[in-house]
């Protein structure tokens, strides 16, 4: 009996002690992490959307943690402890089969895009392998008053009727659009969150707003195409033709071909909403890229757009972008 007590009882006691030390105590301490500046609880419908996100296992493919590594800076600033104060259950995730969603409300603020993408991701991102969530939508003959049907590209739309979001999709949209990182106070943004060293690779993740771009580097076509693919093609498509009634084409677009690039530059820098292109009104908001990309990157994107799909706009330089940035919104 004594041997049994020593082996089973002793090891269980040791294990219980370690479980308290490594599981429970850090849990107690960290559960009290105060909310960071600007981090707010979710509204009722956003919380409902979060439950839809959990029920359908979105976190098995999408993380919500931006690491202090340079490859993660496309997803936002590094996550800080205060970001998670209202996040229970936690949704940090362990797989990034799809992109991180920590800041998706800022990166992709267009409800129209989100709805099309949820209905069938391949309608806007042809190479996507995300499941279709069409069961969160109704197909009706005519949209009820006050509800805008989802403007699906023809190939993906049902043969008859129009597509309108159900409550689940509306809630999920509200949650996705609520995913915006609160900016860190500047002093803290310069250092890493909670005093963590930046990155093991020794390559610091630079803060998003890179104002001091090296002046005068020439247009790099490969870089431009890559940046366009990463930042623009989800809406404007790789063909530059956009999605009819949802996202305007850049191919043959007046602003893109205008000899005066001011409007083109300012659109990329500061975003746009309710714009009329070629006589069609597009309600969907375009995000502002000024805070995410450097002047150099923006110049590369603009030059790529101005020289692709038969466009022949005059190229711009990073200095011109910097000048527009200096003027402010």
């Amino acid at each position: 009996m004594n041997k049994l007590l020593l082996i089973a009882g002793g090891s269980t006691l040791v294990y219980g002690g370690i479980a308290i030390l490594m599981g429970v105590l850090p849990g107690i301490t960290l559960s009290q992490t105060p909310a960071g500046p600007g981090v707010k609880p979710l509204t009722a419908i956003e919380a409902e959307g979060r439950a839809v996100y959990v029920a359908n296992g979105c976190s098995y493919c999408h993380t919500q943690q931006v690491r202090p590594l340079s490859q993660d800076k496309v997803f936002g600033r590094p996550s800080a402890p205060g970001d998670f104060a209202y996040q229970t259950p936690e949704l940090l995730g362990s797989e990034r089969t799809g992109p991180d969603l920590t800041n998706v409300g800022a990166r992709q603020p267009s409800p129209v895009w989100q709805y099309i993408h949820l209905y069938n991701p391949r309608a806007v991102v042809p190479a996507s392998i995300m499941p279709s969530f069409s069961w969160m939508f109704d197909v009706v003959d005519k949209a009820p008053a006050g509800v805008t049907p989802v403007p699906l590209p023809k190939a993906y739309a049902p043969a008859h009727g129009v597509v309108v979001p159900k409550r689940e999709a509306q809630a999920l949209l509200a949650y996705l659009l609520s995913l915006k990182q609160a900016p860190l106070p500047t002093a803290q943004a310069a250092a890493a969150p909670s005093g963590q060293p930046m990155a093991a690779t020794g390559k610091p993740a630079h803060a998003p707003a890179v104002a001091a771009a090296p002046a005068g580097s020439a247009y790099d076509a490969a870089k431009g195409e890559q940046l366009f693919s990463a930042n623009c093609s989800a809406c404007h498509q790789a063909t530059g033709e956009g999605v009819p009634e949802a996202f305007p084409p850049l191919k043959g677009n007046a602003a893109v071909n205008d000899a005066d690039p001011t409007q083109h530059i300012r659109t990329v820098l500061y975003g746009l909403e309710n714009v009329v292109v070629g006589g069609v009104k597009y309600e969907s908001p375009m995000p502002e890229f000024g805070s995410m990309l450097s002047d150099d990157d923006i110049a590369n994107i603009i030059d790529y757009e101005r020289s692709s799909w038969g466009n022949h706009g005059k190229p711009v330089t990073a200095q011109q972008v910097a000048a527009e940035r200096a003027k402010g919104k």
């Binding site: 849990g27 949704l91 963590q196």
Partner: protein, 494 residues
């Protein structure tokens, strides 16, 4: 130090081939019980062991079928659309059915058999064993249905089930712990054989893990992240690992008819595993906002894990020294050898992955999925198969055929190689795509061929499970086949 047996070696059946050969199980029991009672106890134990194994086979087939559907969806994302078949609901069904249905139930069945035989006693309570089996199955069925209906406690690895269902699992664990400890308490041997240290420990510790995971008071926001790190790692490594290792310590000496190389090394690995393993959970959240010291501690102890892992693996491999030729005749031994190598390679890979420099590339990629299959399949699942093939025939006196064993072993082995290698290469490419800061969609496109290979490997693995089911049928309901030479020897020694 080539003399084995170690400090406790004198007490136990696997450690005493010479003596065991002289006295078979029937004779041994006959001294303690009237022979009809002994036969009744043997039959009751065989029924319990068989029932646990049969249930686990059903769960394995179900879980891996879901796995195949999931693998297919990576190439055909519009296949099986609709809420009940959506990827995000099936994914936790696959992992939880594997975890709670297949591996848990199969290992508990093995643990009961090993406890009774190595302690030269009878099961404390057959009834409790059946109650436990019902509870394990009830929890897994209820959990599967809940997840498919969208009732998830959060996308928290292995604890997605709503808490009332996890309480059912905890009850099953409690019943199992009670029954196992009480069985060991009524042993007729003086010492407690090492296998039982691992199996009793595994069940008792997992009760603690399950409770820590359920209680909500310290699980808000970042606090829950730290508990997730602790839980998801411990739930695998303090549950399946000790039960599978306990099985190795029993089945390997049985199959080879020679004692474990070093009993003392086994004891040493037991205590070091107990102290080092629970500390390393936070390595699942490197570069996260968890405190840096917690992450660093996890990395340090991930390296320390090499001590029990290398010690344990060396012990098993040295027990097999000079006898590898017998692999030609003995599939049970081959399954166990793969399990031991899976343990060694999978655990060492885990240590390497925990370094920050490598985690910066591999974290969040499919490399992790390859790693989890290397350990859960290459180690735990192969270990269970080896244990079942080594011990179930000894309990039921019915044997699978060589062809059935071959049809199980080779597709499972080749399939898991394809699976793990393709995802390891693909995951590395995926991680490097990110490091090179290519557009994210590039990493999705680059993974496509590797997802196809994963499906090929997965299909072979899935098909092999039908051969396993057939073999289990023959070992339980079928007629006795001609026993294989090596199992016969082991049987005699039992």
């Amino acid at each position: 130090m080539h003399v084995s047996g170690g400090i406790h070696g004198d007490a136990l059946p696997p450690a005493q081939p010479a003596e065991v050969k002289k006295t078979g199980p029937a004779m041994e029991m006959a001294t303690a019980h009237p022979s009809s009672a002994a036969r009744r106890d043997d039959q009751a134990l065989a029924r319990v062991f068989s029932a646990y194994t049969i249930c686990s086979v059903a769960w394995l087939l179900f879980a891996t079928f879901i796995g195949i559907v999931l693998a297919y969806k990576f190439g055909a994302p519009d296949f099986g659309s609709g809420a009940w078949l959506t990827f995000g609901r099936l994914r936790p069904i696959h992992t939880n059915a594997t975890f709670y249905g297949w591996a848990s139930i199969a290992l508990v069945g093995l643990a009961y058999y090993i406890a009774v035989r190595s302690c030269r006693t009878t099961l404390y309570s057959t009834r409790l064993a059946w109650v436990g089996l019902w509870l394990f199955n009830l929890a897994a069925i209820a959990g599967t249905i809940a997840l498919d209906l969208g009732y998830s406690a959060g996308d928290l690895e292995y604890r997605e089930w709503p808490w009332p269902i996890r309480l059912i699992f905890l009850a099953a664990l409690g019943v199992t712990a009670w029954n196992l400890v009480a069985t060991v308490a009524r042993r007729t041997t003086d010492d407690i054989y090492l296998s039982n240290w691992y199996t009793m420990g595994g069940v008792l510790w997992t009760c603690i893990i399950a409770i820590v995971a359920i209680l909500p008071w310290y699980q808000y926001g970042l606090g829950q992240v730290s508990v997730s790190g602790f839980y998801m790692h411990n739930a695998v490594g303090m549950w399946f690992t000790p039960l599978a290792l306990g099985m190795f310590y029993y089945a390997l000496p049985k199959l080879l008819n020679r004692p474990i190389y070093s009993y003392a090394l086994g004891v040493f690995a037991f205590w070091t595993n107990l102290v080092f393993y629970p500390i390393i959970g936070a390595h699942h959240f490197l570069f996260s906002p968890l405190p840096w010291w917690l992450q660093t501690t996890a990395i340090v102890f991930s390296v320390a894990m090499l001590v029990p892992v290398l010690g344990g693996s060396a012990n098993f491999l040295l027990t097999m020294r000079g006898r590898f030729g017998e692999l030609r005749h003995s599939y049970p031994l081959a399954f166990i050898l793969v399990g031991v190598i899976g343990y060694l390679v999978g655990s060492t890979q885990g240590t390497v992955e925990a370094f920050r420099s490598l985690q910066a590339v591999w974290h969040l990629t499919n490399f992790t999925v390859g790693h989890s299959h290397l350990t859960m399949y290459g180690f735990v699942t192969f270990a269970i198969w080896g244990g079942v093939y080594a011990l179930l025939p000894a309990a039921t006196d019915k044997y699978p055929g060589q062809i059935g064993l071959a049809l199980h072993f080779w597709p499972a082995l080749v399939g898991s190689f394809i699976y793990v290698i393709s995802l390891s290469i693909g995951g590395t490419i995926q991680g490097l795509d990110w490091v090179r800061e290519l557009p994210f969609i590039q990493s999705v496109v680059d993974m496509q061929p590797f997802y196809v290979w994963r499906g090929v490997g997965g299909s072979l693995m899935f098909l092999s499970h039908f051969a396993f089911a057939w073999n289990v049928w023959r070992m339980t309901f079928g007629h006795s086949a001609r026993p294989m030479a090596l199992v016969a020897a082991a049987e005699e020694a039992a």
